[in-house]
Symmetry: C2
Subunit: 338 residues, 2 copies
DNA sequence: GTGAAAGCGCTAACAC
DNA sequence: GTGTTAGCGCTTTCAC
């Protein structure tokens, strides 16, 4: 282990400037009474010496680390990437930094991540939950460790939540198709246990019951990710060997939509001529793919930024907030009037 | 500010277990001599009390934070997202966590990010540099603060580097087109000052000089990102009002390639029938777009993982490493034999 | 306004 | 093997 140069401490600044450690601390921390002139002198010495405060030390003393933990399923997923960015940007404004940990959809990893972050004494956690189990989250709530959950809700856990309006989103997607005279819908949903999956399906069904009860709806459920979505969908259409019989497909999210589009193209089924596709999230590539994807847009950076702000409120005042952000339908070229 | 429950400390564990603080510390830290039996008792008490080590405290004492700072241009860029993931995964194995900061392509932000991370006493930094200026990096090197730079090199800075073989990549892309009888190439490159931009262009030129010196090459330079790439390219082809005259386009990266593809499609120029397109990076969506993109694949998670490992080596032994990772051409449907 | 002294939770040296 | 003591760099009383 290479010897590392010691950093300049407040003590060094005190010695050189001739003031006490304490006065230096106050001057540097903009806190308590310090004569203007004294402060200037101290700041000068500090900057000359290249002083940099040691956050770990002040965190230890003040019990405020100014760090928040961010636990996500997968930071390479464009949706989470944007959420993370939202958190990071907002955190920066408040003088906070974020420690990022991926769980790769594993509950055990989620549990471990939380453990690690607590050891680091993060002031709070922002979590996009794996949702297969939630004992780890329950523990946070029980121990009153500030936390915000993004993108899902658990009835049994009273805590801070930030979600998109998933039900409304499902509703808008289905409404768009129904109003454009689609009659045979397929919903390629995520796994049933997921909150967003349930809500989006609810919205779809509501639209049907309101707008056209005679429209047909079939629902299939797929694990997360492009490959799983592709496999599930392909298996489904291969089983129904007869002609492909849907005129509109609503997908759990844009990545699923891409998978569906790929499978359809491979089979010579044209989009949107033969079948319309609607996605969810409006990730970056949705406007680029061919045809560009009609989708329900969620405000991902805002999801992150609001989560951070709610976390701060929770830390400061103990307030508990459930926030649902609006969604909007973005119509592009993957859907058509029939 | 809500009062927060104090965490259990080593002192509490000492009191309850009847051993000294020190013995407890050793037992919990797996360090020094502790009788097996004693250790078990202590661990039992610790777990009953819900003890969790305070990393900030031990970091202060040992001067090892077990944190590394990760500074990227933009975590939502699929390339960086994968690099980050590689770092994070590797860091986890070593018991490290990462603090992530975005710079949004601003040198000032990069400088600030480094400042913040140093205050947090990260053990080292992994940086994808903005490259417009590098005084901040120079400072790191001068002050011997462990750091690894990903994706670019600076002649004047002797430090750790991890890059993909950009020159080889450019070479492979051009070779592929030339060998498939393309004669009029366009390189849509990133800004000239960028390391990867220079190297990739070098590779392209080398291929031409080796394989077909009579092939034409034009180069245009664009700022980063889809929108900039699109604008630059459109402006370029609008200027050349005559018929579009290239039979192969090599793009700085896949995102540029998507932008180019979009602009071409809008003008009824067919890919690959009229013009072939080659990208760089092989991000996730490159296999999904239509037509799927021929591209030079870089191993992004490995770039991150290796950067972390090199950082560890540098911290432990002071070793300085420059690593270039191999690239490979992935041929898909955006290129064709002429 | 400024300084002295205590202590955050932990680990390292050194006794015993 | 275990305990005593000091101290990492900072902030927080509380004197003066």
């Amino acid at each position: 282990m290479v010897k590392k140069k010691d950093f300049v401490t407040i003590k060094d600044v005190a010695k050189i400037s001739g003031y006490s450690i304490n006065t230096v601390s106050r001057a540097l921390g903009n806190r308590g009474y310090v004569k203007r002139e004294t402060k200037e002198k101290i700041l000068k010495v500090a900057s000359e010496l290249g002083y940099m405060r040691n956050c770990a030390a002040s965190a230890l003393r003040t019990k405020r680390s100014h760090i928040v933990g961010v636990v996500v399923v997968d930071n390479t997923n464009p949706f989470y990437a944007e959420v993370i960015k939202g958190v990071e940007l907002e955190a920066k404004k408040y003088g906070y930094t974020i420690i990022l940990i991926n769980t790769d959809r594993s509950y055990e990893n989620e549990e471990k991540a939380i453990e690690i972050l607590l050891q680091r004494r993060v002031e709070g956690l922002i979590i996009t939950a794996v949702q297969t189990k939630n004992d780890d989250l329950k523990r946070l709530v029980d121990e009153k460790i500030p936390n915000v959950i993004i993108g899902s809700k658990f009835d049994e856990l009273v805590t801070n939540y930030v979600c998109s309006d998933d039900e409304k989103g499902g509703y808008l997607a289905a409404k768009h198709l129904l109003e454009n005279n689609h009659k045979k819908l397929l919903l390629v949903n995520a796994e049933k246990y997921k909150y967003a999956s349930k809500m989006r399906e609810l919205g779809v069904r509501k639209a049907i019951s309101e707008i056209n009860v005679s429209a047909k709806l079939e629902v299939i459920y797929s694990k997360d990710g492009f490959d799983n979505g592709y496999d599930t969908f392909v298996k489904f259409i291969e089983k129904n060997k007869t002609k492909f019989e849907y005129d509109g497909i609503i997908c759990y999210n844009d990545v699923y939509a891409f998978a569906v589009m790929k499978a359809l193209k491979e089979r010579g089924i044209r989009i949107p001529d033969d079948v319309s596709i609607v996605g969810f999230d409006d990730i970056y590539f949705s406007s680029i793919v061919e045809p560009s994807l009609t989708t329900v847009r969620t405000d991902k950076p805002k999801l992150g930024a609001e989560a951070f702000r709610i976390l701060m409120n929770n830390i400061e005042s103990g307030s508990v907030t459930e926030l649902t952000l609006p969604v909007e339908l973005v119509v592009r070229n993957s859907t058509i009037k029939r």
